[in-house]
Symmetry: C2
Subunit: 262 residues, 2 copies
Amino acid sequence: MSSKTVDKALSILDVFTVETPTWGLRELARNLDMNHTIVHRILTTFEDKGYLYCNPETKKYELGIKFIELNNVVEEHLNISTMIQPIMKEIAVKTGESVVLTVLDEEEGVFVKIVESEQKVRFAESVGKRSALYIGASHKIILAHLPEELQNKIIDEGIESQSKQIPSKEKLMERLETIKREGWCFSEGETFDDVAACSVPLFDSKHQILGSLSIAGPKYRFSQQEGEEKLPALLENVEKLNSILSKVNFPSRRNYLTKKFI
Amino acid sequence: MSSKTVDKALSILDVFTVETPTWGLRELARNLDMNHTIVHRILTTFEDKGYLYCNPETKKYELGIKFIELNNVVEEHLNISTMIQPIMKEIAVKTGESVVLTVLDEEEGVFVKIVESEQKVRFAESVGKRSALYIGASHKIILAHLPEELQNKIIDEGIESQSKQIPSKEKLMERLETIKREGWCFSEGETFDDVAACSVPLFDSKHQILGSLSIAGPKYRFSQQEGEEKLPALLENVEKLNSILSKVNFPSRRNYLTKKFI
DNA sequence: CTTCCGTGGTTCGATAATCGAACCACTGAT
DNA sequence: ATCAGTGGTTCGATTATCGAACCACGGAAG
């Protein structure tokens, strides 16, 4: 049982994205196919609580400061800045490239933390970005470790949505098997045109896939060979990270564990 | 008009803090003086949407991955990582200390961004921390620029709550006047025992107080004199920051603008 | 200047979702 | 074996939500 009203309210929050971060009242109501009265009531509730902010000049709504506060609660609870970030930093220093922590959530991958190398190729702004599991090394390495039925389902849905990222199902499935066997994955130009990455899997205490750890850098200085050379730096530290992550029980939705995906 | 159901739901989120990040169902219902049925319904709704995560082993709830995602939307919209952080970094490099961006929200100050110096005195984990405006340089400099009636109200409430931070109302009010006149503020051991800070105010396009920018470091290497020496590095960059901040219209609740505080 | 269409915001009776006492099933301590 | 605690569910009474119709305003077009 779920609350219809709260559910509706949260659906409203969902449309505040990086692409469309501000909304007018009626514009929003139209988009959600809702009566503007109810949208208005929910918006003011969010506003009162600091979850939304209504720009007094434009009268448009945007996400509020509360999310900065609550993000901190999450990061603190996960020991991200005290335990996880230092390990990522170490790898970043050793390899001179940026390090990315990705986790599985529902049937997608989410960038949870990015530690940048000093050589500025900024893509830390992609934290929170969510995308399909067949795109990019960081995501494919996760997909490779999921149950085969779920792989099937995800790839089929990808093909249905006409994703350019899937050449053919057979080839992808084969590729995933190779990735799983070898224990790492390299890709270039998939999530971002100019970026290449090298990824290894992260598991929980029961050795079930949780996410991935990646090194990423600009294509021109990051060939497959260079990726391979940086692999040891990743693998050296990934165990430490695993033991930390298994202790905190990461709050991401891994439906495959409960077979919710069938 | 505000939605009672959504309001209730958001009140539930409020109890997930750094101090108490996980809650059991009945424990939470008791704490909020609510029937556990309704708490349960709301919790599952949040869970379905990724705002809460229910640990399957302990059955305890905690904030979910959604807050990492939405925090990113806010930061992106405010150009925090692309525009603001580089300026803060520049100051951090010049002074060798950490740089803190604080904003006014309702009647409190919130740390929105902390850029750490290389000399590791970690307190970046305090991002999102919220505290009263009479505590610490970063907050006092804001308080000093608020309307006098509001200063009165805030200080009176502080005295009422028996805050140790207020010696006497008269002295504090005098102090605030000095701070406002001089345009900067130094403090040590207020927000954190071992930390000293030096702060300057941030204004919006109409020259109304918005927040503050601070340099902070461990007391042993951060006397008032050393703070003063670092002041120019702050002031040099604060204008750039001001012009950026005035463009984005920061989504923090500055009730003093609308006289809501009376 | 007036009309018109758009915006954000409010009202109030019909309607439908919420509420909550009482109820499982389970676990762990006594 | 009992008991007190937990998370979770049920269902009729209650009450908050819903939404058509309504302002007031503001800018564009005639």
